[in-house]
Structure formats: structure tokens, C-alpha cells
């Protein structure tokens, strides 16, 4: 008969940001362990968590392990018997090991010959007898962003049991009965106040709330149903979606009472709504106010203080303007919520008063005069201070505006914005609210009456963060600062990526502490969306941009190969995220990342997507594959004239003529950026190319003829590859 398994790991408060991942791990690892231990389940493993518990429930778990059967092979039959038929010592020894006679052994055919074999049957043990082992290996299998030692170990010979936070209790019930299991405490720690953690049937409710008896007392449970309802009685909502919906409901209700709604910024700029359900066991919402005079502070300062520092939700009116109010999610069902609200108001007001002090102080000093201070703030030990970084960004931004974007008028602004874009790191406000770096510099530049091009370029220079086409900043937000911003934002990101690679700091696996992936993606996003963002239709090629960014570091050095691969990967990732076909992405990036213009790549992909399924284009693509194979290492002739004198078959004459007329059209269309027309013209070559390969033998005996024909197809190859390697889009 199947019975219920209930596991609860009772912990001190687990970091909220770890909980979703950890809860998932518990489910996956428990499933894997049950499978490994041949324990069958009929129902899906369910997992739950609150800051103080990780819970798993298997509604129906078999009472016994599956029986185990294994065929153990012994010596080969050829070495198992003497000529007289008696078993050799090898065969006898093998049989003895399994306590049987040699004739009882099976014969097992393998590709290497026939072997003696013994079939081991092991009857499955009772589930209760293996669950302790399952529990131990479950605890061992969990991983944490940062693990802690807490003087605990398991008796499995593997030493210390590290965990997220100390484990304080353990529920381990199978069919309502406790399965004995123990987490030992080390000898040096153990004493009257430090004890082993033994599995039991006791759980614990909310730290401070209870309907009866003393808060925090042990609650005995038997089944999951019982467990969940007893927890609820003791102010723990086990189910995260329930906590979340209670929070959303109450937020909306309180916001309405205040005559507004929760600011959309909360979702746009933070993961606050995702995070709060993992900070509380029994959430409720309270409303508070702050003095209206603080509304004179920049909105960004108010929302950052509320959202990032206090985990409070800002409230806005119908026009989206901040109200002098906030909502806070608390882990209480307070008798007197007004006490908590008043205290929260005092905390927020103190923070805002601080912020106002910083805001007033900071504005006494210009950004320009803060630059010397930047030389005391380290950017990277091999790349120098932020002063040096800002100088590099300034010079690169001016170069990008002038030479890459061909907007010489923007160069002066770009230089100035680049030079000043890190100056806010030396302001009190940014030292206090680091989330506001860039934003604050922009606000201070605006207050100094610097040109809009300059202050907006500083304000938005950390953006874009997202890679989707509509990610902030938008053209409307940027206005006439768009070109300057693009130059500064590109310069900052390229300087960081190229510089960090030169310094040997490369992202590996999931480790990317400096956010280089995001920065590289941000840079290619700007180039890809350049027309929409800035109105410029400039197809900027990556090679010159990257090598100019590498100049201050003495060139790429050894980082060339990894850097270029990294940039290519980020561009391909972004293009794939935009929904383009993987093979098409390879096709437009074939020439090597230094030759690629992200904007041209996007346009080519749009054109290819438009022509998906064109039989003519696919036809040319298929033949291009062949062309590439036979022309490996062969350079195209300077012109087709010489070729046309040599070739004589009608099909090759026709192809040469066709290319003669189409090539200029194709090149002109590509030059204009009209890749749809370019690909259409390439597709139009299909009949001539196909006929050529049907009628003509390229590898002719006659060397002049062969050279001529190879020259013809090599010219065709280069014409197409100049735009994209469309052989990539052919289905293999």
C-alpha cells in the first residue's frame, strides 16, 4: 500500500532570493533520490517553502523498494572448464562467491564471447528502512549561492553538513510515522545549548502570532493536510501563490483607499513583487505617508529609497505622479497596524531627509570639479581608477560620434558627457544609493544647466539593460540627445568589455560578476536598433569599433580570440532572442565578427525571414554549398572578362552574362541596405546556376577551361558571401 511522505526542513531565515531556486532543487533532488533508491511514486512530488521551511510531500510512495536484479558476469566459458569438463579455479571461485554450484550459473552471450554469469536477486527493503538514507542524500545534494558551516555533520562519512542557514528542526513522516534521522553536531560545539537535530513530527508556526497558547510552540502533525491546516491556524501560509495573491489583493485595496495605484515602476525597475512573498510567512499590507515637502526631491530618489532600500511600494495618482504615501508588506497580522505604520514612516522620512541633505550638498559642487576625486575610486586593479576610465570613455565616445556614427557635431557633447558620466560616483547620493549611478549624474548635470544632449547621455548611459527592441531608453525619452547618448553608452560598455578581457577577467559559466555579458549585449543592441533610437541609418562595423576601444590597453593582446568569440556569441544570442532562425543568424555572421555590422545583420535577417521557403533562394543556397566545396582555396579573378573569353558552353556563357547584369544590382542593393532586393536578385540567379551545374563539368581536363570555370563559380561565391553565407540555411 502506498503511503504519504512528508519532509519539512525547518531553518532559520533563508535569503528570499534563494527560496524559489532552493524549493525547485528540493523537488528535483527528492525525485532523483527516490528513483535512485528504487522507490516508486504514483503522484508528483509537491514542494513548498517559507523563509523558515523547505517542505516536500509525496502523496503516494510505495511501501517497499522495487526488487533489484543484476546479471554479474564471471570468467569466459572458454576459460571456465578444463578439457575433462571440470570447472577451472576461476569458475569455481566465481560460483563460490555467490554461494552456488557451477552448473547453476547462467551462460551469457556478449559480442566478446560467452561468459558464465550469475543473476543477483535482491529483494527491495521496506521504505521506512531506506528513507533515512534518502533524507541524508537529499540534504547533501542541495547547493547554495553561499553556504555556511554550523557545526553539523551527517553520519555518512562525508563530514560537515553545510547549509543555507542552521537547520533547527526536521519533520520526516512516512505514513504518519516518524522516520528516525539525525543531524549530528560536532563534538567541540555540542553541549547543553547545542544539540543534535532529530527528525520528529513537530513543526513550528509563526514566530510571533498564534491563536492559542504560546507563539512558536511545537505543533504535532501527522499528515500533509493536517500539517498545512495547522500551520495556517498558526499564521503560516505555506503556499507561495496564496501569499502572493494576498499581498496583491491588499496592495490594491490600500492603494485604492489612498486614491491611487501601485507605481508601475515597481515591476519595471525591481523584482520587489517577486521577492516579498519569500520574505514573509503571513503577509499583510500597511499604508503610510511621508511629508509632502519631500516630493520636491527627484522622483528617482524617492522611488529608489522606497523600493530598493525599504522594500516599500510607491503609490501614484491617475496621472502617474507620486503621492506622498507608500505601502509596506509586513510579516504580521498586527493588532495595531498604525504603530508599525508610524514607525515605518519615521524610517522612511529619516532616509528621505538624508537624501535631501545629499541632494542639497551635492549640488554645491559641479560634476566637473569632482573629477579629481574619481582618481581615488578604483575601477579595476589592472585598468586603473574611474578617472582613467572616464578619460578613455570620453575619447572613445568622441571618436564613435565623429568616425563611427559620422556625426561630427555630436563629438564635443559626447566627449563632455563621457568625461562626466562617472563623476556622480563621488557624490554622497550615489555613495548612499548606488542604484542611482548615472541617473543621479544626469540629474545633477541637468541642474547645472548643461545641454540636454549631455545630461541625458549621462542619465541613460548605463542603459539599455534589456535586449528587446522596446527596452529603455526609447527615442522619445532620448529626444535630441540620442546620438550623443549612443556614443557615450557604447563607449562605456565597449571600454569595460574590451578592457576587462584585456585584464584577464572573462565570464565563465554562470559567473559574470562584472556583468560583461549584459554590457556587450547592450552595445550590440544600440547598434542594431540605431535607426529607431537615433534616426541614423549607419551600419557600424564591429571590427574598427572594438580595435579603437582596445587602443588604450595596447590592443587586444592575448584576449583577441576569446573577446571576438564572446562578442559574436552575444550578438548571435540577441538575434536569436529576437526570433531569428539560428541558421540564418550563422549565415549573416559567417564573415567573422569583425566584419559584421549588427544593423546590417538585422536587416539581412529580416529579408531572409521574408523569403523563408523561397525555392529559388534555397536552390542557390544548395548549389552554393557545392560551389564552396569545389572552390576551396581558389581566388576569384579580378574580372569576368577573361573568363568569358575562355568558356564556350551555352550554360556557362549564360551564367557569366547573368552575373554580369545581376552583380551590380546585387551590390548596389546591398550598399543601400536593401537586402530584400539583394536576396531577390540572388534568387533570380537560380535557373542559370542550376543549368550550369546540369550541363557543365567544372573540373574539365583542359586546364584553361577548368581555371576559367572555377573562376566563374568563385566569382559567384564571393558575390553571395559578400552578403551572407546562405548555404547555412539549407536543411542538411
Amino acid at each position: 500500500m502506498d503511503r504519504e511522505l512528508l519532509i519539512e526542513i525547518g531553518c532559520e531565515e533563508i535569503p528570499a532570493s534563494w527560496l524559489p531556486g532552493l524549493t525547485r532543487q528540493v523537488g528535483e533532488q527528492l525525485d532523483a533520490r527516490l528513483k535512485e533508491f528504487r522507490l516508486n511514486t504514483d503522484a508528483k512530488t509537491e514542494t513548498f517553502s517559507t523563509p523558515r521551511r523547505l517542505t516536500a510531500r509525496v502523496a503516494k510512495l510505495a511501501e517497499r523498494q522495487e526488487d533489484f536484479e543484476e546479471l554479474v558476469t564471471g570468467p569466459p566459458v572458454s576459460a571456465a572448464f578444463r578439457p575433462d569438463g571440470d570447472p577451472t579455479p576461476a569458475a569455481a571461485g566465481f560460483a563460490r562467491k555467490y554461494n552456488v554450484e557451477v552448473p547453476a550459473l547462467e551462460r551469457h552471450d556478449t559480442p566478446k564471447g560467452t561468459y558464465l554469469a550469475y543473476r543477483v536477486h535482491q529483494r527491495g527493503k521496506a521504505t521506512v528502512d531506506v528513507l533515512a538514507e534518502v533524507m541524508g542524500s537529499l540534504l547533501r545534494s542541495l547547493t547554495f549561492p553561499k553556504q555556511m558551516r554550523w557545526d553539523a555533520y551527517l553520519e555518512d562519512g562525508k563530514g560537515d553538513l553545510v547549509f543555507a542557514r542552521p537547520i533547527r528542526w526536521l519533520v520526516l513522516l512516512y505514513g504518519g510515522r516518524v522516520v528516525p534521522f539525525v543531524i549530528r553536531r560536532t563534538e567541540i560545539a555540542q553541549g547543553p545549548t547545542v544539540q543534535d537535530v532529530r527528525s520528529g513530527s513537530n513543526t513550528y508556526g509563526h514566530r510571533f502570532l498564534t491563536t492559542s497558547g504560546r507563539a512558536g510552540r511545537a505543533i504535532k502533525v501527522k499528515t500533509f493536510e493536517d500539517y498545512q491546516s495547522r500551520l495556517l491556524e498558526n499564521f503560516v501560509i505555506l503556499d507561495r501563490p496564496e501569499r502572493e495573491s494576498k499581498i496583491r489583493r491588499e496592495l490594491e485595496m490600500h492603494a485604492r483607499k489612498l486614491g491611487g495605484r501601485v507605481s508601475g515602476l515597481v515591476a519595471a525597475q525591481s523584482s520587489l513583487l517577486q521577492e516579498v512573498p519569500d520574505l514573509v510567512e503571513y503577509p499583510s499590507v500597511i499604508a503610510g505617508h511621508f511629508p509632502v515637502e519631500f516630493l520636491q526631491l527627484p522622483e528617482e530618489v524617492l522611488t529608489t529609497t522606497m523600493i530598493h532600500h525599504q522594500h516599500y511600494f510607491p503609490v501614484v495618482d491617475d496621472e502617474g505622479r507620486l503621492k506622498p504615501a507608500f505601502l509596506a508588506v509586513i510579516n504580521m497580522q498586527a493588532e495595531k497596524p498604525e504603530i508599525i505604520a508610524r514607525n515605518s514612516e519615521r524610517v522612511l522620512t529619516a532616509r528621505l531627509r538624508d537624501a535631501r541633505f545629499f541632494y542639497d550638498q551635492d549640488r554645491n559642487v559641479t560634476l566637473e570639479s569632482r573629477l579629481p576625486r574619481l582618481s581615488t575610486i578604483l575601477f579595476h586593479k589592472k585598468l586603473g581608477s574611474y578617472k582613467e576610465k572616464a578619460d578613455r570613455v570620453a575619447s572613445l565616445a568622441a571618436w564613435i560620434a565623429r568616425d563611427a556614427l559620422r556625426q561630427p557635431d555630436a563629438a564635443t557633447h559626447a566627449e563632455q558627457a563621457g568625461r562626466l558620466c562617472k563623476a556622480d560616483l563621488a557624490t554622497d547620493m550615489v555613495r548612499e544609493l548606488t542604484e542611482l549611478q548615472g541617473t543621479m549624474g544626469g540629474i545633477y548635470a541637468r541642474e547645472e544647466n548643461l545641454p540636454v544632449e549631455v545630461w541625458k547621455a549621462i542619465y541613460f548611459h548605463y542603459l539599455p539593460i534589456g535586449i528587446e527592441a522596446e527596452a529603455a531608453p526609447t527615442a522619445a525619452q532620448l529626444g535630441k540627445a540620442a546620438v550623443t547618448w549612443a556614443a557615450v553608452s557604447l563607449a562605456d560598455k565597449l571600454d569595460s568589455v574590451v578592457g576587462m578581457f584585456a585584464a584577464g577577467e572573462r565570464p565563465t559559466g554562470s559567473r559574470d560578476p562584472l556583468g560583461l555579458r549584459r554590457q556587450a549585449q547592450g552595445a550590440v543592441k544600440i547598434l542594431i536598433d540605431l535607426p529607431e533610437l537615433t534616426g541614423l541609418d549607419t551600419r557600424v562595423t564591429l571590427g574598427p569599433l572594438l580595435s579603437r576601444a582596445a587602443e588604450p590597453f595596447g590592443g587586444y593582446g592575448e584576449s583577441a580570440a576569446p573577446l571576438l568569440t564572446f562578442i559574436a556569441d552575444r550578438l548571435a544570442y540577441l538575434l536569436e532572442q529576437r526570433g531569428f532562425d539560428v541558421r540564418s543568424v550563422r549565415a549573416v555572421m559567417h564573415a567573422g565578427i569583425e566584419q559584421v555590422s549588427p544593423l546590417a545583420a538585422r536587416r539581412k535577417l529580416d529579408a531572409l525571414a521574408h523569403m523563408t521557403g523561397s525555392p529559388a533562394l534555397l536552390g542557390v543556397a544548395t548549389l552554393l554549398k557545392r560551389v564552396k566545396n569545389i572552390t576551396k582555396g581558389i581566388a576569384a579573378p579580378a574580372s569576368l572578362d577573361a573568363v568569358r573569353e575562355v568558356v564556350r558552353e551555352p550554360a556557362e556563357q549564360a551564367l557569366a552574362a547573368e552575373m554580369g547584369t545581376r552583380a551590380p544590382m546585387i551590390l548596389a542593393a546591398a550598399e543601400r541596405g536593401d537586402f530584400r532586393e539583394a536576396f531577390t536578385a540572388i534568387a533570380a540567379l537560380q535557373p542559370a546556376v542550376a543549368k550550369f551545374f546540369d550541363d557543365v563539368l567544372v573540373m574539365a581536363e583542359d586546364e584553361r577551361l577548368r581555371t576559367g570555370r572555377l573562376g566563374l563559380v568563385a566569382t559567384l561565391r564571393d558575390l553571395i558571401l559578400g552578403i551572407a553565407d546562405i548555404s547555412e540555411i539549407v536543411n542538411d
Partner: protein, 292 residues
């Protein structure tokens, strides 16, 4: 509850829970962690529970007495429990209740906040404790000190005394706190804050280069002497001179006297001393323990 009553309450609470009551370290330090009662005692196997006030100087936080929440020097109440008892969170919550904070009427939370001190080669895992959104305590399970893995694990509870007192007295400006017997915090400390802030930011009748050179020189002399003391096996005075270096570096930093490369080098030098000190302490006190 006055500022001094709060200290008395916490002291009597922790004394009744087995802590020795120690006195502050009579040196300029940034936090209670620098006190040998923490820095040394958490090393090795010997159980140790202690509580003390530590005036903590943070030159960078100096605000000339003008900021209602920020001080050049604030006071921490530091508790070390080694090994860390299973009930440590409850013990802490009870201590709040002893100070008149009823947890059933407030929102008390343990939110992730790990502590790290690069200069001491030390780190730990823990939380900041929030009381109705106000950070009142740093709660840390030490994992390493001076680069040495700790066993058993000690728990450090650091109360921010001014914050808690402001909460209890419902004042919004630290200088309005009642220290004791009707005397305000401002009367006790305002002039000190102003003078110390001026010093920390180099507002001294002395050219900036000379100010910097003097502090560099003091750093170097204390550093060299700390090494001499360490080589002589005199660990306690060696720690004191290391801590002086640490504070001198903070002054150099807050007065804008150090560049980037220099800054990293200073931190590294203090760290190396701290690591050597920790090892020396373990070797002297735990002859059988494995030193890494």
C-alpha cells in the same frame, strides 16, 4: 528608556544569560569586531561568551553634527556567543523584549545581510534585523577570521544603540536623545562630533600634503612596530598597533589623501598583519589545533 538605561538593560540581560561583561576597547576602532574579545576569542575551540559596548569611529560617516542619523562615532552593543546556541535567535528576540520592544506589536524580520571585512580577512553569514523597517542589529555567524576557518562557529550580535534608543524614545534626531538623567546626547557628544568630523575631512591648520604625510608616517611607524611586536610574540599589543594602522588608513581615506593603487595596498598590508595575528593567536592558545 534613556541611552544609558538601554545599555544597562542589555548588559543585565546578557549577563544573566552567561555572558562576561567586558569593557570597550580603549582604542580608536570602526566596530566591535576589532576588539580582541571578538577578534581573538572567536578563534580556536574554547567556549567564550561576552558582551560589551564599543564606541565605533567611522571617519567617512562624520557629518559635523549636522545629520540627525549619521555620526563619526556611534555606539555598538556587541555580544559574542561561542559556540552559537541553537536558540540564539530567540535569545536575541527576548533581549529586545527586555528592552521594552514587544515583538507581537511590531514587524521584526531577519533579512539576508552577510558581513565581510577585507582588512581582517574575516567574513560571516547572517542577517540585518529590521524593526518596523529600521535596521537595528547585525546578526552574523562568523565563518572565517584572519583567513582561518572557525570551529565551533561563533555568533556575533551587534546592536546599533543610537538607533534602538531613538526608536524607543521616539526622537528623529540622534542629538535629541536623552543620554541619562535629563542630559541630552548633544550635550554629551555634539562638540566631539564637530571636531572629529573636521579632523576626519582634513580641516586642520596644516597643508593637505603635510596632513597626508604625517598620517602616512604614523601608519608606517605603527605598522613596523606591530610587526616587531608580533615577531616578539606579543600578540595583544601587536593587535593594538594593527588597529591603529587601520584607523589611520580610514583617516587617510576620508580626507582624500590616498589614490587608488595606494588604497588597495594599504588594505592589503593591514590584512596581512591581521592574518599573521590570527595565526599567532591560534598557535599560542591552541597548541594542538591544526593551523592552515
Amino acid at each position: 528608556m534613556t541611552f544609558q538605561d538601554l545599555i544597562l538593560k542589555l548588559s543585565s540581560y546578557w549577563a544573566s544569560h552567561g555572558c562576561l561583561l567586558q569593557q570597550p576597547l580603549d582604542l580608536e576602532v570602526g566596530a566591535g569586531t576589532s576588539h580582541p574579545e571578538t577578534l581573538f576569542r572567536v578563534l580556536g575551540q574554547k567556549p567564550w561568551s561576552v558582551a560589551y559596548v564599543q564606541p565605533s569611529r567611522r571617519p567617512d560617516d562624520g557629518r559635523f553634527g549636522q545629520n540627525p542619523n549619521r555620526l563619526f562615532k556611534h555606539h555598538q552593543y556587541q555580544v559574542i556567543l561561542k559556540p552559537s546556541p541553537d536558540e540564539v535567535q530567540q535569545l536575541y528576540l527576548d533581549s529586545l523584549e527586555a528592552c521594552g520592544i514587544n515583538p507581537r506589536q511590531h514587524d521584526i524580520r531577519f533579512e539576508e545581510d552577510n558581513w565581510e571585512s577585507p582588512t581582517l580577512g574575516a567574513w560571516g553569514i547572517g542577517w540585518q534585523v529590521l524593526l518596523d523597517g529600521l535596521e537595528i542589529t547585525q546578526f552574523t555567524y562568523f565563518q572565517q577570521v584572519g583567513g582561518i576557518d572557525l570551529a565551533p562557529i561563533a555568533c556575533e550580535i551587534t546592536y546599533g544603540l543610537e538607533r534602538i534608543a531613538m526608536f524607543l524614545q521616539r526622537v528623529d534626531n540622534v542629538f535629541d536623545l536623552e543620554w541619562g538623567g535629563g542630559v541630552k546626547y548633544a550635550e554629551v557628544r555634539l562638540q566631539e562630533e564637530i571636531d572629529q568630523s573636521k579632523y576626519a575631512f582634513g580641516q586642520v591648520d596644516m597643508p593637505a600634503e603635510e596632513f597626508a604625510a604625517l598620517h602616512r608616517d604614523l601608519f608606517d611607524k605603527n605598522f613596523a612596530f606591530a610587526e616587531t611586536l608580533l615577531a616578539s610574540g606579543l600578540i595583544w599589543p601587536a593587535l593594538e598597533h594593527t588597529l591603529k594602522c587601520s584607523h589611520l588608513f580610514n583617516i587617510l581615506d576620508s580626507s582624500g589623501s590616498v589614490g587608488v593603487t595606494e588604497r588597495t595596498a594599504y588594505i592589503l598590508r593591514v590584512r596581512q598583519l591581521a592574518v599573521k595575528l590570527a595565526r599567532a593567536y591560534v598557535e599560542a592558545n591552541e597548541p594542538k589545533a591544526e593551523v592552515q
